[in-house]
């Protein structure tokens, strides 16, 4: 069912199977018919590991979304709440349980916390007087969710905020646990590299957990050669830039959630002859995006400028395949052709969809606003005028452009200038507060605390040195036939991926000076393997590195790593893991202050 997860060098279906088994075991614990009440946020991630039919096989007859008030009627033995450990959800659950018809009280209640039980939540249920109503209170450890053949995410939305703003390292604890799970399934990873405070922390926890399990030796032949742990805050620049790969742009413009994107339906309408245009659909078009779709796997990591050509090439191939029918003379040949029809038809649908998506995106990328914004970003990234107030930003504020756009640009300027001068910072802050409202002082405060926005403390700006040493800016990036990762941002090579690239070759020793300029410690650890588990590598077999981004990773960075995996002389393949798939907008949003609801 999820065959694409096993296409890569590491078969991530093993992980998926393991978590599915867990789910079945829990469901069987609640004997009899059941209804599941879903925390809506969880349906997305769960959709990646199981389908409704799996639940049905285990007597799940109804499913509802969690809402306050009465539970809908359902003639079942068990009601199971699938929820994140959030206090506000506990209040809703309490309401549900209270309003349950006492005459009809043969139903058993259960809670499944994802990914962890929470003291705080159970305390709240106790205060509300319903804790005793639950037969089972369990946790479902869903740390790392397989998204694709080479991609894992925890979908832990607030990880960056917690780590760098609130200094709460719980997400790192979950990360370490997720990595232990992974090692249990894929063998001990012999070598660990890392850069950054959080990376150090995760590595320490992993090593400690391993010591504690010293009794049970892991007997699995290691699949991964290396683990690279990277803090998001060693590279704050990359997510702020607009991604220019196909998948990156889809995410920037429409937002990809749990592998799905919702698109405006107009371009997808298939007009039949004589049909009037008023019958056009109004519901958003929903597309699933992953490597199970051949065409998408081919084009998603390309620079958007190379997508048109790729689509056209595909169109020719498909047309030619359909033309084959003229050559089918014998019954056997016709049969053969017909047997391929479904596949060809699917390919056609896929082509039609992505042609429409490309058109939608092109409308935006060719707009003046998009171009102006990109120009300023590229000026900052190349170090032009980063030390003074930028007139474009000023104008955008005057025109009341979306606040997040402004914050992305100001933060980018700050990062590329190693902090802003007092005068410049104060000016931006005042303009933003005056125009967008004073309440955003809390958001600005958050951005400062997490280092995205800061005051220049030393007179030396070290960004130019970093840029030059790591070759972060490449003139004449080749978008059609890339020869360097910088194609993913049409010139800018993501810092995080350059570090990964340098680690593989020629090694970090060659860039020690720059690594010192980036925050947090640098480290290397080895994990002993039991005798007999040392990998005997075939001639020409690539090594595998798991790169874990603590605090989020963008699709463009993933594209860059896939590009490195495919390089013929690279000798290294990458599997990517992260706390959350992000883009500049969702990232900044996660750091913004959440307004309190008004009370009369």
């Amino acid at each position: 069912m999820a065959a694409h997860l096993s296409y890569g060098r590491v078969n991530l279906n093993i992980l998926r199977e393991a978590v599915r088994r867990e789910l079945r075991e829990f469901l069987d614990k609640c004997a009899g018919t059941k209804a599941i009440v879903w925390d809506e946020y969880l349906t997305g991630p769960f959709g990646l590991i199981a389908q409704y039919s799996l639940l049905k096989e285990h007597e799940v007859e109804k499913m509802f979304t969690l809402k306050s008030g009465r539970l809908p009627a359902a003639d079942v033995k068990n009601i199971i709440f699938f929820v994140r450990p959030k206090l506000e959800l506990m209040d809703i659950i309490a309401e549900n349980v209270f309003s349950e018809d006492k005459l009809h009280s043969s139903r058993d209640f259960h809670i499944l916390f994802v990914p962890r039980r929470s003291m705080l939540c159970e305390q709240r249920l106790k205060e509300q007087g319903v804790l005793g109503s639950f037969v089972n209170i369990e946790e479902y450890i869903l740390d790392l969710i397989p998204f694709d053949g080479d991609l894992l995410s925890m979908e832990y939305e607030s990880a960056f905020r917690e780590c760098y703003l609130e200094n709460d390292q719980t997400s790192l604890y979950h990360t370490a646990k997720g990595l232990m799970t992974l090692q249990a399934l894929y063998g001990t990873i012999p070598q660990i590299y890392g850069k950054g405070e959080c990376a150090r922390h995760v590595a320490n926890m992993m090593l400690r957990m391993k010591r504690e399990f010293a009794g049970s030796q892991n007997q699995i032949l290691p699949v991964f050669d290396t683990l690279l742990l990277l803090d998001r805050n060693i590279d704050l620049l990359t997510p702020l830039a607009t991604q220019l790969t196909y998948e990156g742009l889809i995410d920037e413009i429409y937002g990809i959630n749990n592998g799905y994107v919702k698109l405006p339906p107009e371009k997808f309408a298939q007009k039949k002859q004589g049909e009037s245009s008023k019958d056009l659909p109004t519901d958003p078009k929903k597309l699933q995006l992953n490597s199970a779709e051949e065409l998408y796997a081919e084009i998603r990591d390309k620079n958007f400028n190379a997508v048109g050509a790729a689509l056209s090439k595909k169109a020719k191939i498909i047309s030619a395949a359909f033309e084959e029918r003229h050559n089918a003379k014998t019954v056997g040949e016709i049969k053969q052709f017909v047997s391929q029809l479904p596949h060809m038809q699917a390919a056609r649908t896929s082509l039609a969809n992505h042609t429409s998506v490309a058109e939608l995106i092109k409308d935006i990328t060719t707009s003046e606003a998009f171009f102006d914004n990109l120009t300023v970003q590229q000026e900052f990234m190349t170090g032009v005028d980063t030390d003074k107030v930028n007139t474009y930003i000023e104008d955008c504020i005057a025109q009341k452009d979306p606040l997040i756009k402004i914050l992305r640009l100001v933060c980018m300027q700050s990062v590329c200038n190693n902090g802003l001068k007092q005068k410049v910072l104060d000016y931006y802050k005042r303009e933003i507060l005056q125009t967008y409202g004073f309440e955003h002082i809390l958001t600005l405060n958050n951005l400062e605390k997490s280092g995205l926005l800061k005051l220049q403390t030393s007179s030396r700006n070290n960004y130019p040195t970093i840029r030059k040493t790591l070759k972060l800016w490449m003139e004449d990036a080749n978008e059609q036939n890339p020869n360097d990762i910088s194609y993913v941002y049409s010139g800018y090579a993501p810092l995080s991926i350059r570090l990964t690239q340098f680690l593989a070759r020629p090694g970090w020793r060659s860039i020690e000076e720059v690594l010192k300029m980036l925050p947090g410690p640098l480290f290397e650890e080895r994990q002993q393997l039991p005798a007999g588990l040392h990998k005997k590598r075939q001639q020409g077999e690539n090594r595998i590195t798991l790169v874990f981004f603590l605090g989020g990773v963008t699709y463009a960075e993933i594209a860059a790593l896939r590009f490195l995996s495919q390089m013929e002389d690279g000798g290294m393949e990458y599997v990517i893991a992260t706390t959350k798939l992000i883009n500049g907008t969702t990232w900044i949003k996660s750091l913004m202050d959440k307004p309190k609801p008004k009370t009369p």
Binding site: T43, F46, T65, L120, A309, T435
Partner: protein, 464 residues
């Protein structure tokens, strides 16, 4: 869109950094794929049902997706039973069986926190810390290891707060806190903090947390989450974090709906943070404005909403609409606002201009341009149908020739277009422009006049 329009649109990209490649024309490629798609659809026929296509194996499993099923759970008629794919391993059968039997995820980790604390707490037998557990000192070492395991077990696994009450002395409690911090599980730390909060006095708890930064941060987050702002405020103040305290209070004030109470609250709470001081002043002004203003203007331009709690720039805009000509001494006058809140020249200009242009108060707009020694309205693109004369004056002020041309084209300022082409010595463009003006109009005759006058086209500028 006509076909040529579309061609032009796709090809007219002027972008350098991110441009569609010139050799492989994007439009034609996209259209090509479109055509191909269309031709095939004619051939196959009856293929509108995409779900059916996806079932064939390309687009995943949408029909069966949980997200959708939640809503359609009752109508579960067309659910296919899911085929259970057996896990495939690359590394031989021995691994496969092991990964299934031994490594059940939940059995892997449960209780490891205990193990941690257990191993760390072996230090308890040292003479230095051993005295903390005086009542148990007589027991053999192994026994109070067990005791620790049992206690901590209660904390970490059963989540029973009550059993924590065995930790009676301050030292014991603090030790418990330190161990929980070492475990790194926020959940456990919170459990211990709740216990300490219940059993220790505020003063002692605050004091002890000061030297335990991780626990302190968790405690602050815990108080934020549970909205115990009173205690949190006390804590922040005792730590000397006045700015954080002020911001917290500021956040609190957002939930006060009565405006005067809100103003008073702001006055009292924001004193420590200087830059925020202005907020209560702003609200004060807004309260004055909310009540004042001449009726006629409100009739002419009805308000969309109340001005209370709006941002400063919005307030200035509002003042420019409803209180523009009030004396500078009046608290609701825009000029007074500008001075009190030190609004930048540019910000004020753009805001005032937008407001006066909306009211079509062209004399004010004029005054803004000329009296303020402004260089040109090159930022302002909306003009709200100003009279041609005024518009022409403004467009003429734009420095950049290209921008000026495009604005002039847009607003049909013929003279400006004509003069610009003349200055550029571009006879061809001028000829072309003649087709766009009315035949026999003033502009038409000016063009003829210019074209006939050789003095403008001398220095190699003529292309004919």
């Amino acid at each position: 869109m006509t076909r040529t329009d579309e061609e032009e649109y796709w090809n007219s990209s002027k972008f350098k950094a991110f441009t569609f490649d010139d050799d492989e024309d994007e439009l034609s490629t996209l259209q090509e794929s479109k055509r191909a798609v269309d031709s095939i659809s004619g051939l196959v026929g009856g293929d509108e049902d995409e779900d059916q296509v996806e079932i064939v194996g390309w687009g995943g499993e949408p029909v069966d997706s949980i997200v959708w099923s939640v809503r359609e759970t009752a109508a579960s008629t067309n659910q296919r039973p899911e085929r259970e794919s057996t896990p495939q391993t690359n590394t031989g059968p021995s691994q496969k069986s092991r990964s299934q039997s031994v490594y059940s995820l939940s059995s892997l980790f449960r209780g490891d926190v205990i193990v941690l604390i257990f191993s760390e707490s072996s230090a308890l037998s040292d003479s230095t810390t051993g005295r903390l557990f005086a009542p148990e000192l007589r027991k053999p070492k192994s026994e109070y290891k067990e005791e620790w395991v049992r206690r901590v077990n209660c904390v970490c696994v059963c989540f029973q707060v009550v059993s924590l009450e065995k930790f009676r002395s301050l030292q014991e409690k603090l030790l418990l806190l330190d161990y929980s911090v070492k475990a790194n599980d926020g959940n456990v730390i919170t459990a211990v903090l709740i216990f300490l909060k219940k059993t220790l006095s505020k003063e002692i708890l605050f004091q002890e947390l000061q030297s335990r930064q991780t626990a302190l941060r968790h405690f602050i987050n815990f108080l934020y989450e549970t909205e115990e702002s009173g205690l949190l405020l006390e804590l922040l103040r005792s730590l000397g974090r006045t700015e954080d305290a002020a911001l917290l209070q500021y956040k609190e004030h957002q939930s006060i709906s009565d405006e005067s109470r809100r103003r008073d609250f702001l006055k009292s709470c924001l004193r420590p943070v200087n830059p925020i001081g202005f907020l209560s002043h702003l609200l004060e002004r807004q309260i004055i404005m909310e009540r004042g203003g001449k009726v006629e203007i409100f009739q002419k331009v009805p308000r969309k909403s109340s001005i209370l709690n709006m941002p400063l720039v919005t307030t200035v805009y509002y003042a420019c609409v409803y209180h523009y000509n009030e004396a500078e001494g009046t608290l609701s006058s825009p000029h007074n606002l500008r001075q009190t809140f030190r609004i930048s020249e540019k910000q004020f200009f753009v805001t005032a201009l937008a407001a006066r242009a909306k009211l079509k108060a062209w004399s004010d707009v004029d005054a803004l341009f000329f009296s303020r020694n402004w260089l040109g309205p090159n930022r302002k693109k909306t003009t709200n149908s100003a009279p041609p004369k005024v518009l022409q004056d403004y467009v003429g002020l734009v420095d950049d020739a290209q921008l000026r041309l495009s604005l002039a084209h847009k607003h049909k300022c013929h003279d400006i277009v004509i003069n610009t082409y003349r200055d550029l010595k571009d006879r061809q463009l001028l000829l072309g422009y003649r087709t766009k003006v009315e035949v026999g109009s003033e502009a038409d005759s000016r063009i003829s006049q210019l074209l006939d006058n050789p003095k403008y086209w001398k220095e190699g500028g003529a292309y004919l």
